[in-house]
């Protein structure tokens, strides 16, 4: 039975215990955030005025207590996780797709088009990140979509550079010349030969991009230009928690801990993917 390079790599990945454990942990956290709130009769924006700043009591209605508006901390952290994880994965996906297509075209085309396209990337790299995001979210009228667009807009640059380098070396390979001799158009070659052969790289880099997007969102929320109260995100929960960390560490520890776990597991997943797809091993 023929085994595709992808299947072989998957088999290697599954042998990596740490990577598999981290994948399970991540899946667990995602499931917790998206399914957990269903088991509570209130949302994270509902205040329980009888229980303001309730402490941890695992067997009460608020297992991890409430904040100073009487909102359930666990539910808020899970709902915030939905926002942060969605932005993280969708953002990484969007930045990955845009970067891949851009880099594949530049690297394959070469010559003047390539130089122009990469000069544009350089210019965008040179822009101070925060200013760019603030400008963009002002331009797009604020809101979560604007925030998302702004994050993606700053994060597609690195995948574009990485893919472009790979596309450049692929473009010189003989199978690309064979494809041209086989009458394929440039568009078909980019989409059917170049892009699929950069997918591994994008997958590995993309798994590192997810935490980067989540951190970006958190950082911007922290600065007050991200997700706005009363909607929760890990970023603004951590910000709120930091303000009170001397009196009530719990408000910081729960969102901060989950975020740390997600970042930690994504890093090991990325490591596992890179080892599994190691180009030094013959695919």
């Amino acid at each position: 039975m023929a085994r595709s390079p992808f299947r072989l790599a998957l088999a290697r990945f599954l042998k990596n215990r740490m990577a598999v454990a981290c994948t399970l942990l991540l899946a667990l956290i995602v499931a917790l955030c998206f399914l957990g709130p269903l088991f509570f009769p209130f949302t994270g924006e509902d205040s329980d005025f009888d229980n303001i700043s309730a402490p941890i009591d695992l067997f009460s209605a608020h297992p991890f207590g409430t904040d100073d508006f009487g909102r359930d901390l666990l539910v808020r952290v899970m709902e915030g996780g939905q926002v942060s994880l969605t932005i993280g994965f969708l953002g990484a996906l969007a930045a990955g797709v845009i970067g891949t297509l851009y880099g594949a075209v530049a690297g394959f085309a070469g010559g003047r088009l390539d130089r122009l396209m990469m000069a544009a990337v350089e210019v965008l790299y040179g822009f101070p990140y925060v200013i760019l995001v603030v400008l963009l979210s002002m331009l797009l009228g604020g809101g979560n979509i604007a925030l998302f667009a702004a994050i993606v807009f700053t994060l597609w640059l690195t995948p574009a550079t990485i893919v472009r380098a790979q596309a450049q070396s692929l473009a010189r390979r003989e199978f690309i010349e064979a494809a041209r001799a086989g009458g394929m158009t440039n568009t078909a070659i980019v989409l059917q030969h170049i892009v699929p052969n950069t997918m591994v790289l994008v997958l590995v880099y993309g798994s590192l991009l997810v935490p980067e997007v989540i951190l970006s969102e958190s950082f911007l929320s922290f600065l007050g230009i991200g997700i706005k109260e009363p909607q929760a995100s890990w970023g603004n929960l951590i910000e709120a928690g930091t303000a009170q960390m001397e009196t009530d560490l719990r408000l910081l520890a729960l969102p901060g801990g989950l975020l740390a776990l997600v970042l930690f597991s994504l890093n090991f997943i990325a490591d596992g993917l890179r080892d599994a797809f190691d180009p030094k091993e013959r695919l």
């Binding site: 010349e177 086989g182 009458g183 158009t185 052969n197």
Partner: protein, 318 residues
């Protein structure tokens, strides 16, 4: 005339700054030949002399810098893009590195049928699968190999797949760019014989590129010897094999190992000596002068043109 080159020169752009126009580096100069149906043109020359570049230009994978290529009388550079894409069906190429010539993420089936999707758009899945199996069998591999990925093939098997891919759209000309150099000696002969059989059965014209004179000797009807991007000798194969005329051709022949140990020892004594000029700074005179034991002072200053000598064209007046 199925394939023809007229005073063909080929250049690579050298990358420079963002604004300045790159100055092209010409690596193939002024090549002319005519190739008929069913015939083989052998191209020999040492590494870096421009054989692959010429081969790619003949398929219009690289543009001609000067002169022209003619496909059955038509210049591909002047075809409309759609016409050109369709015309490519009749002109195919096989490569030196057979594994690199296959997309690592495609099965053999996909690599073989992809050209059919372009050249015969109406073809059904079952038909193209049958064609792939048929052409694969023609190269000596069973249909079981259709499901394999390139990393599951040996070099010889991968080269057969490469040949099958070149054959599937029923071409008239195949450029063979050192198709056996990367293979084990034991498999080289099999692949060469496969190509000869296919040529006979299908009436293919071949351009057979090699740095190995012995292989070219077996295949070619006409031999073209290249040195540093220029043709130094062009002759019918029999005449060439009896007596190569250009000193460079003679040196190449010396480089073919002799079975007889005594002849082999004297052959080694005459190995090429002297410095190989760079393509970036080609000499004003004869491209071989720096290594020629018969070179005269004028050889280094004026370049001898190709001139008829017997049945051959030779770029050396001495």
């Amino acid at each position: 005339m199925i394939l023809e080159a007229r005073n063909l020169s080929v250049a690579y752009p050298l990358p420079r700054g963002l604004i300045s126009r790159p100055a092209p580096l010409t690596v193939v100069h002024d090549v002319s030949f005519r190739l008929e149906r069913g015939k083989t043109l052998g191209i020999v020359g040492e590494s870096g002399c421009g054989k692959s570049t010429l081969g790619r230009a003949l398929l219009h994978l690289l543009p001609a810098a000067k002169g022209e290529v003619l496909w059955a009388g038509e210049n591909p550079a002047q075809m409309a893009p759609e016409t050109l894409r369709k015309a490519r069906a009749k002109r195919q190429i096989i490569f030196q590195d057979p594994i690199a010539a296959l997309d690592p993420r495609m099965t053999v089936l996909k690599s073989l049928t992809r050209p059919l999707a372009t050249f015969e758009p109406g073809i059904t899945r079952a038909e193209s699968r049958d064609r792939a199996a048929e052409v694969l069998q023609r190269t000596g591999l069973s249909a079981d190999y259709l499901a394999r990925y390139p990393h599951e093939l040996s070099g010889g098997q991968a080269q057969r797949v490469g040949i099958a891919r070149a054959l599937i759209a029923r071409p008239e000309v195949i450029i063979c760019d050192e198709p056996v150099s990367a293979l084990d000696v034991s498999i080289q002969a099999q692949v060469v014989n496969l190509l000869l059989d296919l040529q006979e059965d299908l009436g293919l014209a071949l351009v057979f590129i090699s740095h190995n004179l012995a292989v070219v000797r077996q295949m070619a009807d006409e031999v073209m010897v290249m040195c540093l991007g220029r043709v130094v000798e062009q002759a019918p194969a029999e005449a060439f094999h009896l007596s190569p005329q250009h000193p460079y051709s003679q040196a190449l022949r010396q480089a073919v190992p002799e079975p007889d140990p005594l002849a082999e020892r004297s052959r080694r004594g005459k190995a090429l000596q002297g410095e190989l000029p760079s393509v970036h700074a080609p000499p004003p005179g004869c491209v071989f002068a720096s290594r020629c034991d018969r070179a005269r002072p004028e050889c280094r200053t004026t370049r001898p043109e190709l001139a008829p000598r017997g049945a051959a064209l030779v770029a050396c007046p001495y």
